[in-house]
Amino acid sequence: QDNRISIWSAGDLGNAGLNGEYHGEPRLLCDIQHNGDVMDMQFLDQERLVVASSTGTVTIFRHHQNNQTLSANHRWEKAHYHVDQDTSCGGAACTGVVCSNPEIVTVGEDGRINLFRADQKDAVRTIDNADSSTLHAVTFLRTTEILTVNSIGQLKIWDLRQQRNEPSQIFSLAGDRVPLHCVDRHPNQQHIVATGGQDGMLSIWDIRQGTMPVSLLNAHEAEMWEVHFHPSNPDHLFTCSEDGSLWHWDTSINVSEKPSFLHPGGRSTAYLSHSTINQSVVSAWLSNDPTKDRMEITNLIPNQTLSVNSLDVLGPCLVYGTDAEAIYVNRQLFA
């Protein structure tokens, strides 16, 4: 297999035409070989990129902007592994990585959580057997706390300051223990967390209270692979799924407007469960009144075929990649 990490230029902002459309296709700037499937990646800083591999290795790549090359800067081999040495090289896939310079947290199929520091050879901290099932994703809650989701439908908070290897809190869904695949935290209001499950359900949690989600929204028809709050416009949420769709959830519209649920199959419904505590700062995401604060949901992909595996959003730009080996760039998200 020939897997590569590539850096592309998606066109300059200065080249916007009359309608603000960008001209030209994304150009490949540089690429480098990668061992194993790329399971997750995130920029550590302007130049460095952390990549999680299916072989269990975590690598930092450096992008040299002057001569447009990529080089492997640092590598933690066997960051994730299984105990049984009979399996092929004993490596376990590293499923998620999150960075907060200089700290890097990774999770994997071995149920292990690693805390690395860029440029330090060994892991700063490792929590073995943090979970008896696969950890699918991780994100920072606060600077010293992380959130993980696993394949038995649990959302866990870990306090990295504490030395004990137990989560400080465990949340789970009420019904079947559907595996959770992705997690993201609201950029401004840190108590609001969104997770996506194997059945395509989007759950919104308020982690200050209760152990169950505040809202359960029946969304996709298959696994939801990634969920992202827009970093500067957190009234907008994006989810992508195995069913080939990418949804844009917009809670910024007014009460007076009728909601429009644009879903090809027409079977999308929103179940808003009732939270019992009044909040002074009402976030649209935690709405408990179905008659107010509706959401507009749009499928951004006109002809869906294969799975959308990953997405990212920044400013007016949205990038997503599909199983049809295509990457799409949308530079006018809010036009």
Partner: protein, 681 residues
């Protein structure tokens, strides 16, 4: 017709004994040193992994190029070294630059399958033509990429490979374009010629470089290639461009002004078919007849006698075959010759007349010097409207099923292929799609495209999918999830169970009990859930405490998947209740576990032992009823198995039983007293 056997290069069954093993996508052939018994030739190992279909089937080049071989192994020439051959069905899918072709065409294919069938007549045809154009643009984009790769690579072998691919793709586009004109669009007399002219202009590219060279020179009319360019313009019916160049000649050479003006006028007035409905065929024919006669007159008057170039152009305008044939080098191909002939002798040619002109064009052009090549045969078959022949020839020549599969599918949607039943019952379109998709499945990533193709093969698609999907290597959980989703969407329950079992076993071996449970929940596999619970319980018995509490404490409704799992959950709950000092509830739960037979017999002793501390509490916890129940359980346990000799002999066990009996008796005593006592006032 018989199928020529394919030979794996380097593997010679007469020299060495060969043995082979089927893999999911490949055949491994290796040379062995075992002595040969019987002396009969072993069966040729180069048959494709799918048996019965290929025996003797000649239809659409069935097995003709099913395998290509590649050497995998060391050892070169030395007689004692053995080699292992990896024989793969479909080499082309591994070419990096072709991936774009496969992916994009998959999208177009899916769009076609889903498109509106209700649209009839013209709009449907327009839709199909658009699909065909999309396919062609994908081929061209791929050609461009391949060309870039060929130019930028430094490895000459690779460069050669890319260049070959470019010419193959170019030929594919040529054939497809012709099929689009003749079959999909089914151009009628009139527009037919225009389309054919476009076709020729598109595929003879040498013109452009020549034109550039001539135009960029200081005095174009003096350039040695000048007349070549003018001629080729005329041959391709590009009148305006030809006239433009001729004007340069006229201005440079005033003596020929008169001739030029006449020729220019003739060229300007030449009647051509139009795409719209502005004139009927008869009108066109009339006009054309007049014009033809006018040209004839000028030629016979000797107007162009002094300038051989212009005279030859005039002859071409008159459709003089010999004059046209003189420009053989410029036209390079017989089909160019054909179209030029048609342009100048029969512009209102009907589709069904093409075959005669095509045949004679080949004969005239090649003149017996060279025999037609495969490409020529394919194009001939197209001109003869022999669709099946086209597909058959393409299948034989091309190394990959991509082209024939997609083209046949498109033609099928145009309702042009009669259901041509093959030996085993499915039609040609399905057969080709099955072959193509099977090839995709041997690729570690392109198999996802293959799934959709199988979906659209009504007869055998599902069976093929069932067989192939189980053989995809599941290297990560994410890949397994994708495969599972595909199976679930198609109600392939067997495969779902099988895959979940594989993943659960893997997880279990790696001691990931939570993952294993998660997989068995997905498959609703009660047996496996029981297995996992037993593992937990075993761990508990050995270590005295539970591992993975986060899992057991949070089982939720999935607890009901299997009895053992329910027991595990409840047992843990018992421990929790005990830890929280909620003794009466704990006691009730414990009893229920035994009386409702949720607990496995092997565990009863442990449960009863757990009851001990409850019995020994200061307060009386178990009621009389409950105590009787416990006693009954104990008796059931001890009296039950006569062959549990060691149970009796084991001191620890007997002590436990004794202690239990004592505790139970004491509890019974206390509780009888307590229950018998009237509440004090």
């Amino acid at each position: 017709d018989t199928v020529p056997p394919q030979v794996v290069p380097g593997a010679d069954p007469s020299a060495r004994q060969l043995c082979f093993a089927w893999g999911p996508a490949e055949v491994l052939v290796c040379e062995t040193l075992f002595g040969r018994a019987g002396g009969s030739r072993s069966r040729s190992p180069s048959r494709s992994p799918c048996p019965s279909r290929f025996c003797g089937e000649g239809r659409a080049g069935a097995a003709a190029r099913a395998l290509t071989g590649s050497l995998a192994g060391t050892g070169d020439g030395a007689p004692s070294s053995s080699r292992v051959f990896v024989v793969r069905r479909d080499q082309d899918i591994y070419i990096q630059t072709l991936r774009k072709l496969f992916n994009e065409s998959h999208g177009i294919f899916m769009g076609l399958q889903r498109s509106e069938e209700e649209l009839a007549g013209k709009s449907r045809k327009a839709q199909l033509v658009l699909v065909s154009k999309n396919y062609r643009s994908v081929i061209r984009a791929c050609m461009e990429d391949m060309h870039q790769a060929a130019v930028s690579t430094k490895d000459p072998a690779l460069q050669g490979q890319y260049s070959t691919q470019v010419s193959i793709l170019s030929a594919m586009e040529l054939i497809w374009n012709l099929c689009e004109i003749l079959f999909v669009e089914a151009a009628t007399a009139g527009p037919l010629l225009l389309r054919l002219l476009d076709w020729v202009r598109l595929h003879v590219c040498d013109v452009d470089s020549m034109v550039r060279e001539v135009l960029s020179s200081e005095s174009p009319s003096k350039h040695k290639l000048f007349w070549n360019v003018v001629d080729i313009f005329v041959l391709q019916g590009r009148m305006d461009e030809a006239r433009h160049l001729l004007s340069k000649e006229a201005s440079a050479n005033p003596t020929s002004m008169n001739m030029y003006r006449i020729l220019d006028d003739l060229m300007k007035k030449m009647p051509v078919p139009s795409l719209g409905n502005t004139q009927t065929l008869t009108e066109l024919e009339l006009k054309w007849q007049h014009w033809h006669e006018e040209c004839q007159r000028y030629l016979q008057d000797g107007t162009f006698a002094s300038n051989p170039h212009m005279e030859s152009i005039c002859k071409i305008l008159l459709g003089d075959e010999d004059a046209i044939l003189e420009k053989k080098e410029l036209m390079t191909t017989w089909y160019h010759f054909l179209v030029t002939r048609l342009l100048y002798s029969h512009p209102t040619v009907k589709p069904m007349e093409l075959r005669f002109y095509a045949q004679s064009s080949v004969d005239l052009f090649l003149g017996g010097e060279s025999s037609p090549e495969p490409l020529d045969m394919i194009l001939m078959a197209a001109f003869e409207f022999e669709m099946h022949q086209v597909i058959k020839e393409c299948s034989i020549v091309l190394s990959n099923w991509w082209f024939v599969a997609h083209l046949t599918d498109l033609l099928d949607h145009c309702k042009l292929l009669q259901s041509h039943n093959l030996y085993f019952g499915s039609n040609m379109r399905e057969f080709l799609l099955l072959e193509y998709a099977s090839g995709l499945f041997s690729h570690h990533s392109l198999w996802q495209l293959g799934v959709d193709y199988f979906d659209h093969c009504p007869e055998y698609g599902r069976v093929y999918l069932e067989l192939h999907i189980e053989r995809i290597p599941l290297s990560t959980e994410q890949k397994a999830l994708k495969v599972l989703r595909i199976c679930e969407q198609r109600q392939m329950h067997e495969q779902v169970r099988s895959i979940c079992k594989i993943m659960a076993m893997k997880a279990l071996r790696n001691n990931r009990l939570g993952s294993a449970l998660s997989w068995s929940i997905r498959a609703k596999d009660a047996a496996f859930a029981t297995l996992i619970s037993d593992r937990f319980l075993k761990d508990y018995c050995e270590r005295g405490c539970f591992s993975d509490l986060d899992l057991i404490d949070n089982l939720g409704p999935s607890m009901l998947l299997s009895d053992r799992l329910t027991f595990l959950g409840k047992y843990r709950e018992f421990h929790r209740l005990y830890g929280e000092k909620r003794f009466p509830e704990a006691a009730r739960l414990l009893l229920t576990l035994m009386t409702a037979h949720i607990a496995p017999c092997s565990f009863w002793m442990t449960l009863l032992t757990d009851a001990l501390p409850l019995l020994e509490q200061k307060e009386v916890i178990f009621s009389a009823e409950q105590t009787y129940e416990l006693m009954r359980c104990l008796e059931d346990l001890t009296a039950g198995n006569p062959d549990k000799q060691k149970f009796q002999d084991d001191d620890v066990e007997t002590t436990k039983v004794e202690m239990l009996r004592l505790a139970l008796a004491r509890n019974l005593a206390r509780v009888i007293v307590k229950e018998g006592t009237v509440e004090g006032s």
